[in-house]
Amino acid sequence: MLYDRYGRLAFTLALRVLGDAGAAEDVVQEAFLAVWRRAASYRPERGSLRTWVCSIVHHRAIDRLRGRSGRARLDLSLDKAPPEVALSDTWETVAADLEREHIRRALAELPDEQRRTIELAYYAGYSQSEISSLMKVPLGTVKGRTRMALRRLRSTLERQGVEWSVT
């Protein structure tokens, strides 16, 4: 069962974003039900099942946090993006090989303001404008820091031996 494989990771993520075990359980349950209902729409060439599950959990947790559970999130259409068959395989390897400490180290290598921006966004569910207010910096700065943080993160992970097929 998919839940046995990814339930712990999903709950960990939902709990981190929501900070409430009951709410995290609700989100995980609804996310796995959504996965089950939409199983036919899963496209392996776009990424691993783990990525798919985490993405749904994260979206739902953030929607709940922002009180927009009734709104269908706009899905980005990536139909013209290059197929990522190789990435999918690599991704499974990444998931298996990259220890938690590797990713933490990569995060730790980010400049403080970039790491904080990513943490507020991904782990705490703040929007860009909210982060702008929290950190007392212009919105454009938040956007720039987010982009730089992800680029550096990727670059650091690649230095650690992770290879992406996307160029």
């Binding site: 981190r16 359980e25 953030i62 980005l76 259409s77 139909d79 013209k80 938690r100 569910g125 982009r147």
Partner: protein, 250 residues
């Protein structure tokens, strides 16, 4: 929007920080830009590593059971809403000439059919279930005769699934459901042990619960409405009781 503007928004989208207005602008741009779609995938796959950095927290075991119960309830609901071919008895009845009346012989046959139907529904039996799955069914007791349930047991996984139809919606207090439908495992000496709570399917008419463990440890399951979640003993009247499925002859 330029591709550079889009690139900034893609990074924010990957970490879930995009504001709604920006999200709409982003979608419009992406529809016609293959280059930005490739960038989007790259950002998303980088951000998707972030959950792995967290210290894992094990979810409560009940979450798995609740999830399974919801899935089973939905499956049961779908099966029920699917158009079905009329039973043989009904089709035969329709073939009789118009103006038919019950003859004495027909009345006896009809009575026998009703008795047979009740008997076959109330006792444990195996019927049209997947191989290796034991099933028993029963309908409600005096307080709620409309409730009918099915208990499926899979010995290979030691997992039982109870699906029930005909239960009324839970009473509401302060805009929230009051309590829940508890499933009790009735042991040989008659003592009840809380097994699970029934979860509703989206249609609100089918309820289900997953019961973990060897079914031979109990002789029946019973359902009550408990105004307070967590009660260690049944406090409400018993609404439904189903004997556990019999072990098939070896």
């Amino acid at each position: 929007m330029t591709c550079d503007d889009c690139d900034l928004l893609l990074a924010a989208h990957a970490v879930g920080a995009l504001d709604l207005d920006d999200e709409r602008r982003l979608v419009v741009h992406l529809q016609g830009c293959a280059g930005c779609q490739a960038s989007a995938a790259a950002y998303l796959h980088t951000a998707d590593l972030l959950p792995l950095a967290l210290e894992p927290v094990t979810p409560p075991p009940a979450l798995r059971s609740r999830l399974l119960a919801r899935v089973h309830a939905e499956v049961a609901g779908e099966e029920r809403s699917r158009p079905r071919r009329a039973p043989l008895r009904e089709r035969l009845w329709r073939t009789l000439p118009a103006g038919r009346g019950l003859t004495a012989m027909g009345a006896v046959a009809a009575m026998a059919a009703v008795v047979l139907a009740v008997w076959s529904f109330a006792i444990p039996h195996r019927q049209a279930s997947p191989p290796g799955v034991l099933v028993s069914r029963a309908c409600g007791l005096t307080p709620l005769p409309s409730a009918c349930g099915e208990l499926s047991y899979t010995p290979a996984t030691h997992q039982s699934v109870l699906t029930v139809q005909g239960l009324p919606p839970l009473p509401v207090a302060n805009s929230a459901p009051l309590g829940g439908y508890a499933v009790w495992l009735i042991h040989r000496n008659g003592s009840p042990v809380l097994g699970a709570y029934l979860e509703p399917a989206p249609d609100g008419r089918t309820w289900a619960a997953v019961l973990e463990g060897d079914a031979s440890s109990y002789v029946a399951v019973a359902t009550t409405h408990e105004p307070r979640i967590g009660s260690a003993v049944p406090t409400g009247p018993e609404l439904l009781r189903i004997s556990r499925p019999l072990t098939p002859p070896s």
